[in-house]
């Protein structure tokens, strides 16, 4: 602990109270003048490091979450998560690793048209969101992941995406450009068999 336990206690109470991650800048507003919120968050994190509940970073936000290693003992009956389709998982991964990315580029990576509900479902879940438009003709919308995505998958930042470094080193995260003809599907015609 430090010479200023009261700031630490306040920070602890604020974050602990909330189910949602709290923004670092807004936490700072609550601390007394001159307190460094980053330093205090570091102290708080250390305090909870080996505990049943950990302080975790979610983008620029902070939250307490149960320790991952306790999962087997915490899991309760039910919790039947909605099973994502293969297409949805693939699309989510492509958005996460290539963001910001347009719909057409996602289709290019997968080599197949995105069926209508896929992006919609990921958007509705709150894992992806529109991130602005690409400055090319047509100004297509680009998509990226949200803080909710980071929180859900237990990532402090996008840099923590598993395997991102190797993929980048292998050039597999380079900007997406059209390759073989079928992989640039015309929008409109559905190409499903039958």
């Amino acid at each position: 602990m430090t010479d200023s336990p009261s700031s630490l206690r306040l920070l602890e109470a604020l974050i602990f109270a909330s189910a949602e991650p709290l923004d670092e800048a807004r936490l700072a507003e609550r601390l007394p003048e001159g307190e460094d919120v980053t330093v205090r968050l570091g102290e708080l994190g250390a305090l909870y490091e080996n505990r049943g509940v950990n302080l975790v970073q979610v983008g620029r936000k902070w939250a307490f979450r149960t320790a991952p290693d306790l999962a087997p003992q915490l899991r309760v009956e039910k919790v039947m998560p909605r099973r994502l389709s293969r297409a949805a998982i693939e699309t989510l991964a492509i958005i996460a690793y290539h963001q910001p990315i347009t719909r057409a580029e996602i289709e290019e990576v997968r080599g197949v048209r995105l069926s209508k509900g896929t992006l919609d479902l990921l958007f509705e879940t709150g894992w992806v969101a529109p991130k602005g438009r690409r400055r090319v003709p047509g100004r297509p919308t680009t998509w990226g992941t949200t803080d909710h995505f980071l929180d859900h998958f237990g990532l402090a930042a996008l840099g923590d995406l598993p395997g991102a470094d190797e993929l980048k080193a292998a050039g597999l995260l380079d900007p997406v450009t059209p390759t073989i003809p079928s992989a640039a599907p015309k929008s409109g015609a559905d190409t499903g068999p039958g």
Partner: protein, 266 residues
Amino acid sequence: MSEPSPPVSPGFEADAGPVRAPAPAQLILNLDGYEGPLDLLLNLARQQKVDLAHISILALAEQFLAFIESAKRVDMDIAADYLVTAAWLAYLKSRLLLPATPGEDEPSADEMAAALAHQLRRLDGMREAGARLMARPMLGQERFVRGQPEPTPVQRTNVYELSLYDLLKTYAGHEAQRQVSRMRVAPSEFHSLEEAYHRLTRLLGEMPDWSLLMRFLPEGLSPGVGQRSAVAATFAASLELARLGKLRLRQLEPFGPIYVRAGEAP
């Protein structure tokens, strides 16, 4: 969604890949299990039993073409994008086999092959990344939030709750309704034989293989008279085009769906 059936490619070792590979006698040539040509290519590439970085694109092209050929032999309905890819791979194969002509404008065969290999590795990388994401301890399943949250002054205290998703969905719904009502005031809902004839003629290039005739109806028809007249006009036009040899028609059973494909005549 079902897992793809283990692909079997005649003329190529079929014992790699999933354990449940079927005996050669019962070839499974089902394209439904694949999410497009690239997915099929990736599955075939896996059978080469080498690192994806060292696959032979020439061998892969041959595998793919053989697969499509045997699918054709069993008279399977092959979606257009597989055929486009097959044509491209046939072209690539011929160029890979010929000596390179220097000073050409278009990319060399090796560059094209490298681009395809890159695309396969990228898709493979993304699949793997997706699997690793899904293996992470997820909120509500392996990691849990505070079960009895208390109010804090830090949270944004919005009186009104609305997500971007709901805002956009509402707008989209509104737009869709506007489009529908715009359609209803169209001066006439009848479709003439002449229009349908010109329409189908324009679309001939889009039907290299058997496709449902119903797919080539005009978009955005309102149910009822408009739709019925469009179906009648399109069918009559297809008969006329078939008579001229520009189009072929097929119906497998009485009242069954009608299929069309481009005919031999120019």
